[in-house]
Structure formats: C-alpha cells, structure tokens
Amino acid sequence: MAALRCFLRSGKPAMEVTVRDALNQAMDEELERDDRVFLLGEEVAQYDGAYKVSRGLWKKYGDKRIIDTPITEMGFAGIAVGSAMAGLRPICEFMTFNFSMQAIDQVINSAAKTYYMSAGLQSVPIVFRGPNGASAGVAAQHSQCFAAWYGHCPGLKVVSPWNSEDARGLLKSAIRDDNPVVFLENELMYGVPFELSEEAQSKDFTVPIGKAKIERQGNHITLVSHSRMVGHCLDAAAVLAKEGIECEVINLRTIRPMDIETIEASVIKTNHLVTVEGGWPQFGVGAEICARIMEGPAFNYLDAPAVRVTGVDIPMPYAKILEDHSVPQIKDIMFSVKKTLNV
C-alpha cells in the first residue's frame, strides 16, 4: 500500500537542504540554463570554493565557465563588470564581503551607476555574492556587515537571504536580473539545513527580489530582520510565546529595494516595532526602517518608539565572550521586545 502511495504521488517530496547546497544547486541550474552565466572568484574552481559553495561546478563546467582568479579583487571585479557590459552574465564571488571594499569602486561606480549614466544604453547584469557579516573568531577585519553600505546606493539591488528557500530562489532571481545585484550570504548559515518544499526544488523556482516574507504571524509586536538574525528572532518569538507575547517576524529578504509596505501593514496591526540586524547601528538597516516608518502611515499606529537591536558599535573583538556580546543574542531581542511593550 505504501509503495502504491509513493507511485501515485507526483513530484518530489520536501527534503532537507543546507543553505550551501541550495546555493550550489541554484548556480548549477542557472549555469545550465544560460550559456552566458559564468562564475569567477578566488578558489571557486579547483578548490571547490573557499566555503565549498561551488563544489563540483568546475568539474562539470570546466575552465571556461568556472574561473579561479588571483587575489586581486579590484582587478577581477572590474573584469567581471566589463564582461557583463559586453553581454555575459557573471557571478563574481568575493571570498567575504570585507574584501569587496578593495573593489568597491568597481561595484558602485562601474556597475551600479552605469545604467542610469548611460540613460539605459548600457546594462550590467552581474551578481556579486559571498559571505557577509560576523563569523566566528575571525575578528575585526573579517566580520563587517555591508548591508547598509550597499543598500545606500541607487542602481544596486541588495538581497540578504536567511534560509535555503531564500538562498535558492533569490540567487536564481539575482542571476536572471539584468541589474547589478549584491547577494549577501552568511557563513554561519551555510551548514544549516532547512526543509525545501517540492515547489522550491523546481528548476524555475524564484523568489522575487523586493518582497519581504512574514515567517511567523503575531499581533503584539513586529520584529523585522534579515539573514541570520531572522533565526534569532524566531527563537526569541518561541520563548516569548510561552509568556503570552505573540511576535510577528518579518524576514526582509531584500535590503534594496526594501519592502516597506509589508512592514507598515504589520506595524499597523501590532502597533510595536523592533528591528534586528547584525551590523552596526549608525546609518544601518534598522535606522532606515525607522525613518521610513515615521514618514509613512504606520507612524500613527505606533504605541511606543521603534527600537533597533544591532551589533555593538565597535570593531569585532576576538575573544569569544566579547564576540558573543558584540552581536544580538536572543536575550537582547527579548529584552527589547519587553521594553517596547512595557512589560
């Protein structure tokens, strides 16, 4: 009977896929779908990727489409942008986004601004991807979050996936998008498995850029977050639920263009807002959300000032106890929720 049931069921059942494998599969499918897509970066080919995200791709597609570069970010990012101008669809990997600072002129001045400066004559269909934000014990120069830096610039799309479905769907959308897209992954999420529905496993599954997702419904307070912090928010929400506080958790998915409408609708319902991010507070993602909420209709529905939970405003320290306290923890989120609700 069980065998017959299996035979009759159509499509693939939901399966557990890590974020790393989701990214790998997305790239594999897009490389197969479009000849113009290629991947370049440090260690992406023969090493299978510094974090093994591009495992197996060089073996399958060869030197022409999976290119190992020297450790020269400004040069290879510029080469990637130039190839996009000439009609290819490069995926330019930065080993971490900290190194993208060496190439940031090419990302902003050569990629982001060109479509506008040329009045639409010259498009730059490129994806810059790599791990962003805090890792574990890598200290100050290797732990910065660039969501706010890139989110600031017109001409770029900036996405920050949390789980496997986000990673897979957003990467496919990014590669198919004709605009330059900055794709901020998270090293600590690479090994985390999530269930992928059968719909999400399809080769044409994409997640639209510019649309946030409500991961958990609630009516007491809105928690807005992106990347790894979404998981922390959900964990905090689970604990708070036991105390009778129902949090609505929004996964931004896209930093730019930000889906402020989803946040506004949620705040209008819950009357309270807490933003959570891994990056520094000043001029950050949370600051932008607060400003836009004030400028829009949702301001009139706030029963308390919005609160930002962010990384501590210091270069990331090395010692574990200091590092742990430099990024938002579940207890910090819970504390801010209770303070906002005045409980």
Binding site: G75, G78, V81, M85
Partner: protein, 325 residues
C-alpha cells in the same frame, strides 16, 4: 567637380582671349594612393614591430583629415561653450591627440570594442556618435547620447563603453570586455586606453596579470601626453617607459602624433591579439593642447604650454597629414 570648373574656366579664358592661369591638372591626375616611410617603433619583448612603410589611399587620407578636423573643431567649440558656462562640471579636451583616436579606429574593425577614460569626446565621435549628440550631451540636453544624464565623461555607443570618470577603472573593464570576446570565440579585440597618469594604478597591473594569464585579446594603450593632470611624467613615474611597464606583456612605443604610425601599430597589435597570443601594450607619445580639464587653474598650463607650444607646433597631428596630401 574640379574638372568641370577647370574646363569651364579654360573654355571662357580662350573665348575672351584673356589669359587665365588655372590649374592645368585634371581630377584623374591625383594619385589614388601613396606609400610612406613611417617612424620605426621601439619594441619590448617582440622580435619584430609594426612595418615602417605604409600605403595611404586618397579616400583614407581625406577621411582621416576630415575626422581629425571635425574633432579639433568640436573640442575648440566645447572650450568656448565651457567658458560661456553652457557646459558645466568636467570637460577634458582631446585637441592635440586626434591622431591617436583616428589612427586606432583605422587599425581596428567596427565590431571590435573600445573603452577609454574621461578624455573621451574624440573616441565617442570615432566610435560613431554624431557631433550633434555629443554637444547636446555636453550641454545637458535630452537629445544627447545619454539624454543629458551622463555628461562629458559618460557617453556610450555600440561596442564603446565610455567615458569613465575614475582614473584607471576602465582598464579592468576593458580586460573584461576582452574576456567576453574570448568567451564568445568571435575573434574581436578590445582596446583599453589609459593615460600616463593612470599607468601607475594598481588595478592596471592586476589587469595585465589576468589578461596575460588567460590570454585575453586586449590591446592596452597608454596615451602618454607627458602630464598626469599637472604633474609631469618624470615626477609621477619611477619608470617612464610605459610600453615596458607590462613586463611580461610585449610592448610597442608609437609616435602618437602620426596617424599612419598609430594605424599600423594598432593593426599589428590587433593581429597579435586575434592570433590568440594574448594581450599587447602600446604607448602612444602624444600631446594635449589644453590643460588637464577646463576647470584647471590656468598658470601651470600657461607655464608649460607656452614653452612647449612652439616645440610641439611642428608636430601638430593634422598638419603632418596635411603636408603629405
């Protein structure tokens, strides 16, 4: 046309009995082509450089001359418009360097690719944008090639990637375009231009490395006009032999004031790249008649401008061509 005029004048002269000296040469007497000796190029890591003899046809000569004249007049007009505050912001003029743009365009094919820095008005013209659209862009009108949104440094055309404002950034972009050419297997090349000032940029050396490693069909061209903004080459570069700065990349040093020299060197370089041997470097020795840009303070320009004006006058690019036609 000349024949008709000359016949008519001759006819009327004999009728009236007056003697009128007109040109006794007919149209058919003009030579269809001439061969020239051109200056031999210094080479680096090459057994042989471009040829030192070339043939110029009448059509080519007239076309190069006309193009250079149009470019010169366009730039001088831009100078005037800038002083009238009709052009704003940055305006980097190309007058003096016309032989470079025209020679390069003559040495490559229309479906080859080209990218340059901000001294780009000349290349915008040679790559096919009409003067009207260039001047409209400079004056911020929607009839401009970038609808007035780009300005002097951001004009684009098919297989012409601008116009780039950040010194040196265009060189990796050019190497990337060359990568796309190789990827597609279409035997097109990309010409990536930069100046003597940009030649010390780290990203250019990064581009040399990757272009050589991956054998990209990229012609790196340094337009050495002796000054990076206001700083002379001797004060900016420890090594002013720019054609050698590619180290493992072969190089040619070319007289950038002679359009035929530039053309032959470009043809040589393009053939080299198309044969799959990888990138090549050219240094064009040239000169600009204006300061770095229209917003430069006048005095450094006048100081060196006055002294070198007379030295350089003899090497004005289109005067050289005019004298041989």
């Amino acid at each position: 046309m000349l024949t008709i005029v000359s016949n008519a004048l001759r006819g009327s002269a004999s009728k009236n009995g007056t003697r009128l000296v007109v040109s006794a040469r007919s149209y058919a007497d003009f030579t269809p082509q001439v061969s020239f000796d051109i200056k031999r190029c210094d080479v680096h890591r090459l057994d042989q450089g471009p040829p030192d003899k070339t043939v110029l046809t009448r059509e080519q000569g007239l076309q190069y001359y006309r193009t250079m004249q149009v470019m010169r007049r366009m730039e001088l007009k831009a100078d005037q418009l800038y002083k009238q505050k009709i052009i704003r912001g940055f305006c980097h003029l190309y007058d003096g360097q016309e032989a470079c743009a025209v020679g390069i365009e003559a040495g490559i094919k229309p479906d080859d690719h080209l990218i340059t820095a901000y001294r780009a008005h000349g290349y915008t013209y040679t790559r096919g944008v009409p003067v009207k659209e260039i001047l409209a862009e400079l004056t911020g009108r929607k009839g401009g090639v970038a609808k007035g949104k780009g300005g002097s440094m951001h004009m684009y055309a098919k297989h012409f990637y601008g116009g780039n404002g950040i010194v040196g950034a265009q060189v990796p972009l050019g190497a990337g375009v060359a990568l796309a050419c190789k990827y597609h297997g279409n035997s097109q090349v990309c010409v990536a231009l930069y100046g003597d000032g940009a030649a010390n940029q780290g990203q250019i050396f990064e581009s040399y490395n990757m272009a050589a490693l991956w054998k990209l069909p990229c012609i790196f061209i340094c337009e050495n006009n002796k000054y990076g903004m206001g700083t002379s080459v001797e004060r900016a570069s420890a090594n002013t032999d720019y054609y050698k700065r590619g180290d493992f990349i072969p190089g040619i040093r070319v007289d950038g004031m002679d359009v035929l020299c530039v053309r032959e060197a470009t043809k040589f370089a393009a053939d080299y790249c198309r044969s799959g041997k990888g990138p090549i470097l050219m240094e064009l020795q040239t000169y600009r008649y204006h300061g770095h840009s229209m917003s430069d303070p006048g005095s450094p320009v006048l100081l060196y401008g006055c002294c070198s004006f007379f030295l350089v006058r003899g090497t004005n690019p289109w005067i050289k061509l005019k004298s041989v036609s």
